[in-house]
């Protein structure tokens, strides 16, 4: 319950806030537009992670957040010449980490699912015992 309310409040705050910043920055060909898109994507991912109870959906939300970050990094790389190829390299590194994370995360989720017969994270309360 608290999770849904928190997510429902936080996500619009993020989206509206970042959208306002993007508008204030103005211009579709600017860095700000990419950053606003990245922020919106990140906020959606965060909302998904906090609000969804299904472990698979949460993993997907994590992927979304990672890709939002990737987008921001690539945008920085292309708009700021001083960074050179550095931005792309970091983005590649993040992708590799994301792939590894997805593999490990999915296998953990499957292992837990086989044990508990449920994909819902609020029933995984063994840490509380």
């Amino acid at each position: 319950m608290i999770r849904v309310i928190a997510g429902a409040i936080l996500a619009p705050v993020f989206i509206v806030g970042l959208g306002l910043i993007g508008l204030a920055a103005g211009g579709s060909r600017s860095l700000d537009a990419y950053l606003v898109l990245s922020g919106i994507l990140f906020a959606i991912g965060m909302f998904g992670f906090l609000a969804r109870r299904n472990a698979i959906s949460m993993l997907m939300s994590i992927e979304l957040m990672l890709n939002a970050v990737n987008l921001a990094i690539v945008a920085f790389g292309s708009f700021i010449p001083k960074l050179g190829a550095g931005g792309s390299v970091i983005a590649l590194l993040v992708m590799a980490v994301a792939a590894a994370e997805a593999t490990v995360g999915l296998s953990i989720v499957i292992a837990i699912y086989r044990n508990r017969k449920t994909p819902l994270v609020d029933e995984y309360d063994a840490m509380r015992q």
Binding site: R3, L10, F49, R53, M58, V121, D122, Y124, A126, R128
Partner: protein, 657 residues
Amino acid sequence: MFGFLVPVIIGLPLFGFLFTALVGRRLGKRAHLVPVGAVGIAWLIGMWVVFNALTGAQPFGEGGFATRLYSWIPAGAFHVDVGFLVDNLTACLLIVVLTIGFLVHVYSIGYMSHDPGYWRFFAYLNLFMVSMLLLVLADSFLVLFVAWELVGLSSYLLIGFWKHKPSAALAAKKAFIVNRVGDVGFALGIMAIFVDTGTLNIQDSITRLTAEGAALPIPIWVVALLVFAGAMGKSAQFPLHVWLPDAMEGPTPVSALIHAATMVNAGVYLVARTNPIFAAGGDAIVVVAAIGIFTAILAASIAMTQTDIKRVLAYSTLSQLGYMFASLGVGAFTAAIFHLMTHGFFKGLLFLGSGSVIHAVHDEQDMRRMGGLASKIPHTYRTMLIGSIAIAGIPPLAGFFSKDEILGEAFKNGFQWVWLIGIVVAVMTAFYMFRLIGLTFWGESRVDPAVEPNIHESPSVMMTPLWLLAIPSILLGLVLSWPGPPLGNGTGLLAGWLEPVFQHGHELLGRAEPAFQLFGIDGGLLLVSIVVAVLGMVAAWRLFGVSLSGLQWRPNPERVRALTARVPFLYRASLNKWWFDDLNHLIFIVIGGRVGAFAWWFDRRVVDDTVNDIAATTVDAGKELRRVQTGRVQNYALGIALGLIVMAGSFLVLAAR
């Protein structure tokens, strides 16, 4: 050979104690055989050792014979051996301890025969013999201290022998606790001796302490006073005297052996043993004299009005011990040991006699309910009369010689005030002893009519020790101090024996020993002693009656009442023991109890509550904070997200400025 025999003297009663403690219960009325036999054999061996020591045979010689048993604590610089030393002083003590110890053992066969704790009593008695023998034989202060505590323990066990009696249990505790007070001083004294000399061997440490120009971190007078504190506790000197009268709750043989003849002499022995420390300790020795003579007159004044026959004797013991310390204090060490020996015998006799009286009138101890017993228990009467004459100081019985020597030495060594008080005490001594005899044996019978026809003389197993103790009570003084042939060499037997032991102390005090002048000062002092003793005796006869052959005075209770009414304060003070028990009650029970209650309250309310409150706060905080720990991953993620927002937000705010 003596290296083997001396430990055997201790080993025999030790065996008797262990044997009786382990299997005594099953032996029933035969439980006394092993303990009494063990002490009997120990007496034979002991007398052989004593004879060799006193005649200076090899290997004893002048300085005594030391034998080392084993190394007890070999800890670097701190090295303690368990060993024994038999010199002439120890030999004198061995005579007293073994002889009276053995006779009391025999007496107890009769006295305790109806007691259910028969075997237990003999086990304790043997334990006491072990401790006391170890005490006089020890050649190291630490071993001496162990023995010191062991006699305290056996004294505790025997005072509280009838433990179902609350008064006995209380008296045992009192004796134990008061003794501990003195023992703290003694323990500190032993530590001080080790700090000063680096050894605990008695002879070595005394030599080093009194060596010329020795650099002592702790001054020697402090050592002397600390050692004297221990002696005060064990020998019941003011202000630690309160335990001894109460110790009379124990069985009478115990009172005779421990609280009259042997254990209470341990303090006198200790001071005599360490006499050079006191001699070199400046004014510390005057403290000994002052406390001794004060205890003597205090206890004598109390003894004059007590009605319990054993309590009169107990205060008399205190008073005589006071004499001994006064004697040590004026530098007359030989006289102190002389009085220790004679007093041991006649006071042992008096206590055993009082036990026989108590036995005869069916456990009645109040002298107001005795009287006229002389014809009914003639043997007890005669032996007790001998003991009383001896302690009163009528020549030629034992007490006269030793007491006169103490008073004479005090006078000649320049302690006229000690002599003067001592003379007053001598009057009182004669008075209270013949008051005791008068109330108990002479005059009309005041015995309970129901008990009257059953009064009987004690069995011969109890009478024999009495008569055997009566012999030294008569002769010992004469034998030990006769200066001429065939016994002496001009100085008297005992003085000759103890000369090597006390030579060092006498030299340190720098007192010349003038020749005995029968027709000079000594004769005069002697005459005064006799006169005051007779004075006290006759005064007691006038008030409490006498019925010796040819001399018949009736008791005069009206006159007693008139006299006590004339000095009501003194009478009440004496009757109430100068309120020392009440004073101790006020200081330690009432005020001490308040302090204790406050400390308890402080501990509970302040110390404990501080700790408890800290713990309770921690627990409560934990209880509240555990709600954060939901175990749900998304709640934690929410926390992370909120943290991120706060951080990013504050960054933006700060960056905007």
